[in-house]
């Protein structure tokens, strides 16, 4: 039997910049001056979300933090800072940092130190997630956008060794990072280390996550891309002769709103895709023309007019149909999540993006209460999914 988890992911968006400013700006990330961010409004937003996190701790929704920089989409500019605060204010639920952008951090040992500290403060409730990043983040972080996947893996390896070495100091002289004297204090609370997650739908990367046993999370991948990613993970384990991964190794992030009725949820849920319609507007030099953004052989497809991977129909109904949103009354949402789990071959951890766009604090609190009290119980003790076809395919 499988019991699913629900996680709350809020990016602390700042949807208060006047529309005419956003319309006139080339990019709402990286280059929008911070005169448009009112610190008093930001302080109120932090307070609201701390209250949401305290509620999550009480009702059993785990918490995801992340970071993006210099834009209206996200005020979690330093994930270790935010995650440390969350560790201190909660006592029961797990906390996933997804994560500080290791491709823009010059010293992974410092990242390991921050995470080890948070793990101790939380008394072992920290999970550590990695994201490759790119686009405006490379500009805001002044990080060379070339070779970032390779750099990310070296950073992950160094962080892992930093967290698991207890008879140091040790020396690291890699391609991207050198540190002759690594000796992290405090050591992490969990042994051998906090669980590692990574967000990707890149199939070779999913296969590597499978071999390493990381949790593979997808963001808005929809049914088909998610299934392929999880299959790549599973097949890599079969080929490597590793035991079958449990559903807790698979995670999926979707927009989510739970209301008293389907009608109410659809109405409020329509405020969430602001994330796609407004908050990711980005200049061409920060997106399709950024070095490394697309492999050169893919450039013609990416550069010719109209080429975009973004969904064009952002209605709640369309997003639900594509498996990118769970939205409705508690029974509807439970049914949507169960169907998603079936169609992707099993997933144990659903990350809900609820406090997004123009969704208010009160509306978010309501959805979290319904999710924890009326959806989560329906996701417990589910029958296992038969994915024996994976083993056959790998043979």
């Amino acid at each position: 039997m499988v019991s699913m988890e629900l996680w709350n992911h809020c990016e602390n968006p700042y949807p208060f910049v006047p529309a005419e400013v956003l319309d006139a700006a080339d990019s709402v990330r990286a280059s929008l001056p911070n005169k448009y961010c009112d610190p008093q409004t930001a302080a109120r937003l932090y307070d609201e979300i701390w209250e949401e996190y305290r509620l999550c701790d009480d009702i059993g929704l785990h918490i995801v933090t992340n970071e993006h920089h210099s834009g209206i989409n996200n005020l979690w500019a330093a994930s270790p800072v935010i995650t440390g605060i969350v560790a201190s204010m909660t006592s029961k639920v797990r906390i996933l940092t997804l994560g500080t952008l290791v491709t823009v951090r010059p010293d992974p040992v410092r990242v390991a130190t921050e995470y080890a500290t948070i793990d101790v403060i939380s008394k072992g409730r920290l999970d550590i997630g990695f994201v490759k990043s790119g686009a405006t983040e490379m500009v805001s972080g002044n990080a060379n956008p070339m070779h970032i996947r390779e750099r990310e893996w070296e950073a992950i390896d160094l962080i892992e060794k930093s967290l698991t070495t207890h008879d140091g100091p040790f020396s690291w002289e890699g391609k991207f990072f050198t540190h002759p004297h690594v000796n992290v204090w405090p050591r992490p609370y969990q042994s051998p280390r906090p669980d590692f997650w990574a967000a990707t739908s890149d199939l070779p990367t999913c296969a590597e996550l499978g071999r390493r046993g990381f949790v593979n999370t997808l963001l808005f991948g929809g049914y088909e891309r998610t299934r392929k990613a999880y299959d790549a993970y599973k097949q890599a384990r079969v080929v490597a002769g590793l035991p079958k991964a449990g559903e807790d190794r698979f995670s999926y992030m979707a927009f989510c709103y739970v209301g008293d009725t389907d009608e109410e949820a659809m109405r409020i849920g329509q405020k969430i895709p602001w994330f796609l319609t407004v908050s990711i507007k980005s200049s061409p030099q920060f997106s399709k023309f950024q070095p490394g953004a697309v492999a050169p052989e893919m450039a013609p497809a990416a550069w010719r007019g109209g080429a975009s991977k973004r969904p064009t129909d952002l209605s709640v109904a369309s997003l639900i149909a594509q498996g990118q949103m769970f939205c409705g009354n508690p029974d509807t949402v439970a049914k949507q999540i169960k169907e998603f789990r079936q169609r992707v071959g099993g997933v144990g951890r659903i990350i809900m993006m609820t406090r997004q766009g123009l969704v208010t604090h009160a509306q978010a609190m309501k959805s979290f209460n319904l999710a924890a009290k009326e959806v989560l119980p329906q996701l417990q003790d589910l029958p296992a999914i038969d994915d024996s076809s994976i083993a056959v395919a790998a043979e």
Binding site: V139, P145, S283, P291, P296, G305
Partner: protein, 261 residues
């Protein structure tokens, strides 16, 4: 280690080695024929540009500088003129600092590579973080005069349905490689400036009068750091005088080569 370089050759005689800027020298570039009257123009594509493969673990200016010392060592004779354009001007200046035995003349056209101003002065417009329209405005005196098939800074603004997939793949590859070599510090080596005094060959520094990527004032300061260097501007040209004013460019270089011969 053998490194393959796609190389454009034009004319014959004493070698004129041309190190390109953001994109390799196009076979249709109008400055080639007039320049080739004065020697053999040899224009390799840097590793990772054009059809030149990117060797494994090849990723810094240091790699390019050592590579082009090898290239100069392998050229025939002992009278090599080195021309560096924009980004290639940075490489050429670095190479000249090492005093290759066969190098007899240096031409830098709108080179990047050094820091002149204060810490809050942007000497070099950011190649990667600037909007393509802004780059075009800064890089060209008159973008409409860009020769067909030749691309400089702001090339993204020139993408249209007439461009072939192969051209796009090549431009993307060039852009990636340029970024790998030069992202940070952006387009300069903090240690180059004090060593420019080692350049020991006659040097001509050419500058497009309308260059808004690196201004003529930057160029004057650059030339002032190279012993005996001559600084000249080219009218009605931006960051790519060899593309906007090919006749004037070739003429200045020819006079300089002739004077130094």
């Amino acid at each position: 280690m053998r490194i393959e370089l796609e190389t454009l050759r034009r004319g014959s005689g004493r070698p004129i080695l041309v190190l390109h800027g953001v994109n390799p020298v196009s076979p249709t570039a109008p400055f080639l024929d007039p320049l080739a009257k004065h020697g053999e123009v040899i224009a390799p594509s840097h590793p990772g540009f054009g059809a030149s493969p990117m060797p494994a673990d090849f990723e810094t200016i240091y790699d390019l500088v050592n590579l082009y010392q090898d290239v100069i060592d392998d050229l025939p004779g002992d009278d090599v003129t080195l021309i560096g354009l924009g980004f290639g001007g940075w490489i050429a200046a670095e190479v000249a600092v090492t005093r290759p035995a066969k190098l007899s003349r240096l031409v830098l056209a709108d080179p990047v590579g050094i820091k002149i101003g204060g810490r809050e002065d942007r000497d070099i417009a950011h190649f990667f973080n600037s909007h393509p329209a802004d780059l075009t405005k800064r890089a060209w005196h008159d973008p409409s005069k860009r020769p067909a098939g030749c691309y400089g800074l702001g090339w993204q603004a020139g993408i249209d349905d007439t461009m072939t997939d192969a051209e796009m793949v090549s431009l993307a590859r060039n852009w990636d490689s340029l970024c790998l070599y030069s992202w940070t510090p952006h387009m300069y080596n903090p240690r180059l400036k004090p060593w420019l005094r080692r350049i020991a060959v006659p040097t001509l520094v050419l500058w497009g009068e309308s260059d808004g990527i690196v201004t003529p004032d930057y160029g004057r300061a650059y030339a002032g750091l190279i012993p005996g260097a001559t600084f000249e501007t080219i009218h009605a040209a931006g960051h790519h005088p060899e593309l906007e004013q090919p006749a004037a460019f070739a003429d200045r270089v020819a006079r300089f080569i002739g004077a130094g011969a």
